[in-house]
């Protein structure tokens, strides 16, 4: 093992491995230390394996609705082991792919655990005894893990975290999902499609806190229509085992004195994440940690010489694409080739893979209102979109928000089929500071779901043609 590098990256998730490859491309001698599988949570226990499972759920949905298209489908059954196995093998294949990418880009991949041993010093334990490595620039990309609740034991048997929820051995008949953020809603949607009776519990007044309220309300309605039971304004008091193979939750409905008891076979805890800041030696170096996340400046610098933090461990939004971009920008800034502005949170798109899908970029209507500027709203219901109707997925909305004075696209919020693929159009527009007129002048292909994006912009100017 070499012990001198220009750049060392701790953590091989989408933030870390992308940053390491970029550093090597720029000419830095670079190493990446990862204690588990390359790819991090995203690839091994997050985005990718859940998408594999969700695709299975979608197939279940398609089979159920095949009759609408004239198909007669005989009795179907699900071999869960095959579905989960497929999800795991996709993750494993991609993780192997990253090892190959690191080799190709000349990044030394060190399998081990790293902690800071001083300024620009990293103690690395790779199984052959700890070694001290020197690097002028150290990037912490250690990610985050599910937040725990006091008094709730995630035992992996009856009370699941995200990992167990991704590797079930059977589909629970009754499932309780605590927390209706992106992860909670995705699992709720997935298991409902696989046949569970799902109860989704959220402390806030609406599911998907932080999303545009109109979109969240539509998601709420769509999930309810699918048969999910949603309890908002319910705080979790207690979650414990009940009977031989079940769980019981005690919930406190806001404004009511009597607690509510909900029984289920399994429960998933999805109440946010906390940064992996422990055991890194941050205190000794005087690194500031706030609320479980490392404090940095706009370019990821922690204030300690040569030490940077990027991705989930550096705070929200906790998104793989944010981590990758932050990693690249941090490394380019170190190399003195950083262009323009640091990453802006309002230009980072968010995607939720429930059914229906939800995607957004920029400010919500409530945020625009709070900012006090005059604005225009455009709404295009997918009922008016030919492609959506042809797909049998007319339930959806494309909502756009524009600054009335400058014409800037302030935000875009979408719900409906494949909207996670549509949002990128609005993201480009936001990055380029496009106005409503630029979008009006843009030609959208027919017949596509994307036409509803155009229609939404037209509506913002009271010029809607198709609805």
């Amino acid at each position: 093992m070499k012990t001198r590098y220009d750049v060392m990256v701790v953590g091989g998730g989408p933030g870390g491995y992308v940053a390491a490859i970029r550093a090597s491309q720029l000419g830095f001698r670079t190493a990446l230390v990862e204690r588990e599988s390359l790819g991090g949570v995203c690839l091994n226990w997050g985005c990718i394996p859940t998408k594999a499972l969700l695709h299975g759920a979608e197939i279940a949905h398609t089979l159920r609705t095949a009759g609408d298209f004239g198909f007669t489908v005989g009795p179907t059954s699900l071999d869960l082991e095959v579905l989960v196995g497929r999800s795991r093998s996709v993750a494993a294949r991609l993780s192997g792919g990253i090892a190959q990418l690191l080799r190709k880009h000349n990044v030394d991949h060190i399998k081990g655990e790293a902690s800071l041993a001083g300024k620009c010093l990293l103690s690395v334990e790779d199984g052959s005894g700890p070694k001290t490595c020197h690097a002028d620039h150290i990037l912490l990309a250690t990610g985050a893990r599910p937040r725990q609740l006091p008094g709730v034991v995630v035992d992996g048997e009856r009370i699941w975290g995200a990992r167990e929820a991704m590797t079930p051995t059977q589909v629970p008949e009754r499932l309780l999902v605590i927390g209706a953020g992106a992860i909670g809603v995705e699992f709720a949607s997935l298991y409902a499609d696989l046949g569970s009776q799902v109860t989704l519990v959220e402390m806030a007044s609406e599911i998907l806190p932080g999303a545009d309220e109109e979109i969240a309300a539509r998601a709420h309605a769509a999930l309810t229509e699918r048969g999910l039971r949603i309890l908002t304004r319910h705080a979790l008091l207690k979650l414990e085992h009940q009977g031989p193979d079940g769980v019981s939750a005690t919930l406190a409905p806001t404004g009511e004195t009597a607690p509510l008891h909900v029984a289920a076979d399994r429960a998933i805890l999805a109440v946010g994440v906390t940064g992996n800041v422990e055991g890194l030696g941050l205190d000794a170096l005087g690194v500031q940690v706030q609320g479980g996340f490392v404090v940095t400046n706009d370019w990821g610098h922690t204030g300690v010489v040569g030490l940077y933090a990027i991705g989930d461990v550096a705070g929200p939004p906790w998104l793989a694409h944010k981590a990758s971009q932050e990693g690249v920008q941090c490394v380019e800034h170190i190399a003195g080739i950083g262009r323009g502005q640091p990453l802006q949170a309002t230009r980072i798109p968010t995607c939720i893979y429930s059914r229906p899908q939800i995607a957004s970029v920029g400010l919500t209507e409530a945020q625009v209102q709070a900012a006090g500027r005059p604005y225009r709203v455009g709404r295009a219901p997918l009922q008016a979109n030919g492609k959506a109707l042809a797909m049998g997925e007319g339930n959806g909305l494309v909502k756009t928000l524009f600054d009335e004075v400058t014409g800037e696209l302030l935000g875009a919020h979408l719900i409906g089929p494949e909207v996670t693929e549509l949002v990128q159009g609005f993201t480009v527009a936001r990055q380029l500071e496009a106005t409503e007129n630029d979008l009006l002048d843009t030609v959208f292909p027919h017949p596509t779901l994307s036409e509803s994006m155009h229609e939404s912009v037209l509506d913002a100017l009271d010029r809607a043609i198709h609805h």
Partner: protein
């Protein structure tokens, strides 16, 4: 417009007289768009990409990878697909010959790589009204106050910056009064597509070290050198009164051409040669500059041993107290040298053979080893900076040196240099002066050594410093005074605070 554009070797900074073709991004026959990358050019220490000034078909690539091309010489001809070979040959016959002498005649004026050949070709034909007014329009387009507040689309802003156009000069037709790409194209077209790039303004330099007009040479030698594209600095001066003679220029020219014929001759007796490759731009710069320094500047060395226990204690305190910096012994040496240069300003000089320039600020060049050579980024006005600032600045400069993203002004100039081989375990060594500076400090490793203090043998952490000086401007006594001052600052670090 003739529809033919040429791209010449650009001039990035005053020192640049030639560039090496590092890589071609296009081939003859390729159809390209305006702004496409054409080739990478390696110069002294930087590699930059030259982009297409206009779209069209690549008709001629006139240099091969590895070739050294003088500034102003045509590299690429781009023309409309239907342009005939005759037209291109005619253009080339005119421009290649004319570009070089124009360049030589006036070193201080930044030649315009794109417009020079275009003007040359226009002069062969009866000048059209558009062509004759092109120069004025061009100047008008680039003039004006800061245009960062002018509304423009992102693409338009980028093109304008690349083309050196001031957005105030462009009529905006876009939404909300923004300047669009179309507006820029219209403005460019009306000026005959020859817009100067603001290289000279963006990259100021202290002195044109490669200007060979001051080198003594015979008239024939000077003219021959110009014809052959040889810099007189690269020639021996075997003539009477130390002048460069015709034979010296011819020898230099044959040395330059050996490089191209070397490949052929070594192919015949290749068995013993593991690898043969021409010098990179960086190595060539190092070779030329140090050869010149060694030849021109009479070096002498003065050496002292310095006890650094107190300095190491200060370093430890600083590093314990401040998490935002990691101060090295070398950082403290830069600070101490800056203090010593302020105390003994006679060493803080540059000398071009005629004039001694004295500087108020200590701009200290710090040698940074790279895989393919070394580079000496400069800590400007180190005498006004604290140790933490110096330390972080050196860290940043060294980091960017490794990836080649230093700007020319960050490594050109300087009034004093420090080269430290202590980290490689070297006890002491001599360095060659980084001309036109007057002196360079060579720093060895600090280690425990026996010292005699008040008649008692004891152990101290000692480091040997060797100062190489140019005796033309720095005498022994001055060098000794400087080293004494430097040692005092290093041995009693608190005095650096004064």
């Amino acid at each position: 417009m003739s529809g033919i554009s040429t791209v010449t070797m650009p001039k990035w900074g005053m020192e640049m007289v030639e560039g090496e073709i590092a890589e071609w991004h296009v081939s003859e026959g390729d159809t390209i768009a305006e702004g496409d990358d054409l080739l990478d050019v390696e110069t002294s220490k930087i590699v930059n990409t030259v982009t297409a000034p206009a779209g069209g078909v690549v008709k001629r690539l006139l240099s091969a990878v590895g070739e050294l091309v003088p500034v102003g010489q045509v590299l690429v001809v781009i023309a409309a697909a239907e342009t005939s070979d005759d037209e291109i040959e005619k253009l080339l016959a005119g421009s290649v010959r004319k570009a070089a002498p124009a360049e030589m005649a006036d070193e201080s004026a930044t030649p315009e790589p794109q417009s020079a050949p275009a003007t040359a070709s226009a002069s062969e034909k009866p000048a059209s009204p558009a062509a004759s007014s092109a120069g004025e329009n061009t100047t008008a387009l680039s003039a004006g106050p800061d245009d960062s507040a002018v509304a423009a689309t992102p693409v338009a802003r980028r093109v304008a910056r690349e083309q050196g156009i001031n957005l105030h000069q462009v009529v905006a037709s876009g939404r909300h009064g923004r300047v669009t790409l179309g507006d820029l194209e219209a403005a460019l077209q009306s000026s005959g597509r020859s817009v100067p790039r603001p290289y000279s303004a963006a990259r100021p330099e202290l002195r044109p070290a490669r200007d060979d007009s001051a080198v003594a040479a015979t008239p024939v030698a000077r003219r021959l050198a110009r014809e052959l594209g040889i810099n007189l600095h690269d020639c021996r001066s075997s003539g009477r009164h130390g002048r460069v003679s015709k034979a010296d220029v011819e020898a230099a020219a044959s040395r330059a051409s050996i490089k191209t014929t070397a490949a052929k001759s070594t192919a015949a007796c290749a068995s013993s040669v593991a690898e043969s490759r021409p010098l990179s731009g960086m190595r060539r710069t190092i070779a030329t500059r140090l050869q010149t320094s060694k030849r021109e500047a009479p070096h002498f060395r003065v050496q002292v041993d310095v006890e650094v226990d107190a300095l190491l204690a200060v370093r430890k305190q600083l590093n314990q107290q401040y998490s935002e910096a990691k101060v090295s012994l070398n950082d403290l040496l830069v600070k101490a040298s800056a203090c010593a240069l302020a105390a003994v300003p006679g060493v803080n000089v540059q000398f071009d053979g005629d004039t001694v320039q004295h500087y108020a600020d200590a701009d200290i060049a710090v040698a940074v080893a790279l895989d393919e050579g070394l580079i000496t980024p400069i800590v400007r006005a180190a005498n006004h900076k604290g140790v933490l600032a110096i330390s972080n600045e050196i860290r940043d400069l060294a980091t960017r040196a490794k990836v080649g993203s230093l700007q020319p002004e960050e490594f050109q100039g300087g009034t004093f240099s420090i080269s430290n081989l202590g980290m490689f375990g070297v006890d002491r060594f001599d360095a060659i002066i980084n001309s036109p500076q007057g002196a360079i400090l060579a720093v060895g490793a600090a280690g425990e050594r026996p010292v005699v203090r008040h008649g008692e043998l004891t152990v101290a952490t000692v480091m040997t410093l060797t100062l190489s000086c140019d005796h033309r401007i720095i005498d022994g006594a001055l060098a000794a005074r400087f080293l004494a001052a430097l040692r005092a600052f290093l041995e009693t670090p608190a005095t650096m605070l004064a």
